[in-house]
Symmetry: C2
Subunit: 237 residues, 2 copies
């Protein structure tokens, strides 16, 4: 048996989990990006493809869960590897939720196509999605490279996402007040915005998991996890 | 050493996890119940207590996570116990989210106190919360008794919750259209309703985890996880 072909089966199993997470991450990013494109362009065909695409993430999560439990039972891993395996379970659960949120945006596309809304609302949603997707990409890179150097920025940017969401929330409410015919469509856009804001939260969760995998420590408990939109009270016109 | 006092330390550790989950469950139920009471009665003091209460769940989740990893590393558990321990990690994460959703409802109380809304909207929210809390209580009972006999009902009732949520969503939209002065407050109530619907989803997640702990099998993949409110399109008046 040629020695260069001897692989450590255990390392290969851990590598399998990491690769699966990376591919779930790419899939989730694409779903969210396409859902927002479908929304902006009233593209119901693309929306339907995004909805169908969600099954892939559900199956991947299940596969990672099953595989992780098998690895733990068979290999009885020590602290470092155990953090890695439990971390994979956590991250795949966050990514599955990101896919759900993308799917939910896609579902709303079909409801708003008959009620076109002003372009600046969509620009706001696109900008919010761009921030959340940058966030997601960055934490997935941190996971792939096992690097926590830039992970503290993730929380700062989560504040930016929350602030932008709150401003969009206010804008949508104002627009609803100006013309009640906008209410149903704008409510769907409100939930789309909320979904994107939640994607940012899941990216922050993943950042915390990566930090724990790499350092063995928890990031400080206190973090601003909530948007401020609950404080919005508008004077009626 | 009296033999009747010899405890299996490992069993005690597993028991610790189960007890902590039970106490997190009770805490989360109480938070949601009180948040909805605070909303219905415009009780900002109670709302503030609910918001402060959320810290307990965050700390418990962290404690369960750390303890679970220590148990796995030290005891190298076999399949059954491993499912139990990984299950504890999953359930505590769902319960922590339920607490977050309760806290988010409580935060909105403070924004709507100056804009009283009709009592029937609150009745709808109360009824929805009642269904979600019954659901949560039932799955926590199933976890405590390791019984899956009634767990299939959980999905059926999740459909009821989704249907009631969609109807409330429609009612809130109609009310916003009737009078634009209601828009800001009703939007907060919409998000409260959505939060309660999500609590039902988390109860369903917990049901699936309990099923997996007890049987070693996954519940069938397909489940109606989404409400139908994304389809709501109202004719403007």
């Amino acid at each position: 048996m040629p020695t260069q072909h001897i692989v450590n089966a255990y390392d290969a199993e851990l590598k399998f989990l990491a690769n699966r997470i990376a591919s779930m991450g790419g899939h989730a990013e694409r779903m969210v990006d396409q859902a927002v494109q479908a929304l902006v362009n009233y593209d119901t065909d693309l929306a339907r493809r995004v909805i169908a695409d969600d099954l892939v993430l559900d199956e991947s999560q299940r596969e990672i869960d099953d595989k992780a439990v098998i690895i733990i039972a068979r290999r009885q891993p020590m602290a470092d590897d155990l953090r890695e395996i439990i971390g994979a379970i956590r991250i795949s659960s966050d990514l599955e939720r990101v896919g759900d949120l993308g799917k939910n945006i896609a579902k709303r596309v079909i409801s708003i196509t008959d009620h076109p809304q002003p372009i600046q609302l969509f620009r706001g949603l696109e900008a919010l999605a761009q921030l959340a997707l940058t966030q997601l990409k960055e934490v997935l890179d941190a996971f792939a490279t096992r690097s926590v150097a830039r992970i503290s920025f993730v929380r700062d940017r989560d504040d930016d996402i929350d602030a932008m969401y709150t401003s969009l929330f206010r804008e949508l409410l104002t627009y609803m007040m100006e013309d009640p015919r906008n209410i149903a469509a704008c409510t769907h856009l409100l939930f789309c915005a909320k979904n994107i804001e939640r994607i940012g939260d899941h990216a922050t969760n993943i950042a915390e998991t990566v930090y724990h995998i790499v350092t063995g420590e928890q990031m400080a408990a206190e973090r601003p996890k909530e948007d401020k939109s609950h404080k919005v009270v508008l004077a009626a016109k």
